[in-house]
């Protein structure tokens, strides 16, 4: 079944990813199927008033895409640095037990310790500079 060229099968046969593809296609098909079927059944009388954004009854004021505070970005920034760290840690962690069993555990521990501690230093810096707290009222900072 496998591509004849790949004789010695490496990690796993590629057919193990088949259900993932099937489920993703199933998700898309179910979503669009239900939306289209519902489109046929239900009434559709669009009216100007019905299509205004919901603002607890009043008429919406101003453009939605207004200016936002930057703390959303700082959270995302710290997230992506730790996301990348965990992406690198997964291969390292999955091999730690084997290294430990052949006696290299101490060395592997020091490697992981070094890797994590450097990033803990990063989050300590952000904590001390007040990047982690959500409501940054500058006035309270000066007092």
């Amino acid at each position: 079944m496998e591509n004849p060229q790949v004789l010695a099968d490496s990690s796993q046969g590629l057919s193990v990813f088949m259900p993932i593809l099937i489920l993703m296609v199933l998700g898309v098909v179910i979503f669009w199927g239900a939306v289209l079927v519902a489109g046929l059944i239900r009434p559709s009388k669009p009216s100007k008033l019905k299509q205004t954004a919901y603002e607890c009854g009043e008429l919406p004021v101003g453009q939605a895409w207004s200016h936002f505070n930057i703390r959303f970005y700082v959270t995302g920034l710290i997230f992506i640095i730790f996301d990348v760290e965990s992406a690198l840690m997964f291969p390292a962690a999955s091999v730690f037990k084997k290294l430990n069993s052949i006696g290299l555990g101490g060395l592997a521990l020091i490697e992981i310790l070094l890797f994590v501690m450097i990033l803990v230093a990063g989050i300590a810096y952000c904590w001390s500079k007040g990047d982690l707290d959500w409501v940054k009222s500058l006035s309270s900072k000066e007092k």
Binding site: M1, E2, N3, P4, Q5, V6, L7, A8, S10, S11, Q12, L14, S15, F17, M18, L21, W65, H67, F68, N69, I70, R71, F72, Y73, V74, G76, L77, I78, F79, I80, I81, D83, V84, E85, S86, A87, L88, F90, P91, A92, A93, S94, V95, K98, L99, A108, E111, L114, F115, I118, L119, A121, G122, Y125, C126, K129, D131, K136, L138
Partner: protein, 195 residues
């Protein structure tokens, strides 16, 4: 066995067996190509981020066809779950998509490369044709090397981790210093300005 002849190689008679590998390759390549084209044509920046997401998922699918499952999952985790969300935040924080993002006016004094969208499409098509012609020319000489994957080519997460922790240890630690620098730098830049 679903036997379908996809293409007859000129150099030798080979009936391609439709295996899951080819289906996965075609689907992810198609997804990537369509989203790349859409990226070129769209003006709305939020649509651009969504098409970037689709292109990156396509590349993750291509990694799967290359038996690199760890890389495909890292790509999805880091890019799809991190970089694209960060870009969406950045787009909202830089005033949505009211700016004009395509060079409308022509740059007579500059090379046509900086021309309007249409010149880009023409350039894109010309380079496609050139590449396909070159590839088919070269392919004549290239005999299909029957390719056997060596047994030790097992790109599992364990073998990758072992290589990472032994041979590439210095790079592993250096990357954490780089991430520290990126974190502190970006936090410093993105701190709210004290007016």
């Amino acid at each position: 066995m679903l036997v379908v002849a996809i293409e007859k190689e000129r150099t030798f008679e080979k009936v391609a067996i439709v295996s899951f590998l080819t289906i996965l390759f075609i689907l992810s390549a198609l997804l990537m190509l369509v989203s790349c084209l859409a990226l070129l044509l769209t003006k709305n920046i939020m649509h651009a981020c969504t098409f970037l997401l689709a292109a990156l998922l396509g590349v993750a699918g291509l990694y799967l066809t290359l038996h690199a499952d760890t890389l495909a999952v890292t790509q999805v985790l880091v890019y799809v779950g991190g970089v694209v969300i960060l870009m969406l935040f950045a787009v909202v924080l830089t005033g949505g998509q009211d700016q004009e993002s395509i060079t409308k006016e022509k740059f007579p004094h500059l090379a046509p490369l900086f021309g309007s969208k249409s010149t880009f499409l023409k350039a894109f098509l010309v380079s496609m044709i050139f590449f396909v012609a070159a590839a088919s020319l070269l392919r004549l000489g290239e005999k299909e090397i029957v390719h056997v994957v060596a047994v030790n080519y097992a790109p599992t997460i364990q073998s990758l981790g072992q290589l990472l922790m032994t041979d590439y240890l210095f790079a592993f630690e250096l990357v954490s210093v780089l991430l520290l620098g990126a974190l502190i730098g970006a936090a410093l830049i993105a701190r709210p300005m004290k007016k």
